[in-house]
């Protein structure tokens, strides 16, 4: 059962798949493309973990926001070009990453934490312990 709805339609991947030949042109002429980053979703007893590939993005390039039940990630990489060289062959383009996620009800929105290592962003979403309330019957 997948609790977390992954809102793929919200962000369209405007980049072509690599290898189609236009990636070369993209990287040189259209550095402002937006890509949909690859994501793994893991779950355990008490938390969900989102693992997102955002190669080329430094700490300061990450913008992570929660609004109501929507988590939005926007990430801007450093420039992907090499100075004084021409791109002779390309399999990937460099551009911004963007993806939104719809969070399930049982997430504690105040304790969402994220860490970046080697171009991989890990977002930890803790589950709230459901508060039981006993209703007395008169």
């Amino acid at each position: 059962m997948e609790h977390m709805h992954n809102d793929t339609n919200a962000t369209q991947n405007t980049g072509c798949s690599a290898g189609c030949g236009c990636a070369a042109k993209d990287a040189e002429k259209h550095p402002a493309r937006t890509y949909l980053p690859a994501v793994d979703l893991l779950h355990s007893q008490d938390a969900y973990t989102l693992v997102v590939d955002i190669p080329g993005v430094p700490h300061e390039g990450i913008d992570l926001q929660v609004e109501k039940n929507t988590l939005t990630l926007r990430a801007t990489p450093t420039e992907g070009t090499v100075a004084d060289m021409r791109l002779a062959y390309a399999e990937y383009g460099v551009g911004r990453y963007e993806r939104t996620f719809t969070l399930p009800e049982d997430i504690d929105r105040d304790t969402i934490a994220a860490s970046l290592k080697n171009g991989v962003l890990r977002i930890t979403l803790s589950k709230v312990v459901p508060a039981t309330k006993r209703i007395s019957i008169n």
Partner: protein, 139 residues
Amino acid sequence: MYWNRLAAMAVNDTQKGTNHLIGRMIARQRPAGPAFNIWVNDEGAVLTSEIPGVELQDLDITVSGKSVSVKGIRKDESTEKEERYSRKERASGEFERIFRLGMEIDAAAVQARLANGVLEIRLPRSEKDKPRKITVTAD
């Protein structure tokens, strides 16, 4: 015009290890392994690749003559705790990519750098392979 392009000399990508990778890389018929870009000028070439999650110690770069081989392993995330996958889009496993460039590489001067999951390999052209200007003298 055509012979002035270095693009033609840059690539001859031989693949290995197709069966090691799972996920979108194969689904989209991409090469078996991470994507690479190749940059060139008269002084040499630079290979860049997006390899998020690959540790420095899991990379093995070999340069010989005109060939560059990049081997590596991207480990699964789910090795710790009692975590289970609900969704998996990120490819993992071993990969090897071999590129044959159109120039001799000075293997001793090769430099590689890994930053934020992006690999950059600087491959200076060997001195004897560099183009030489020939002066034409009149009679």
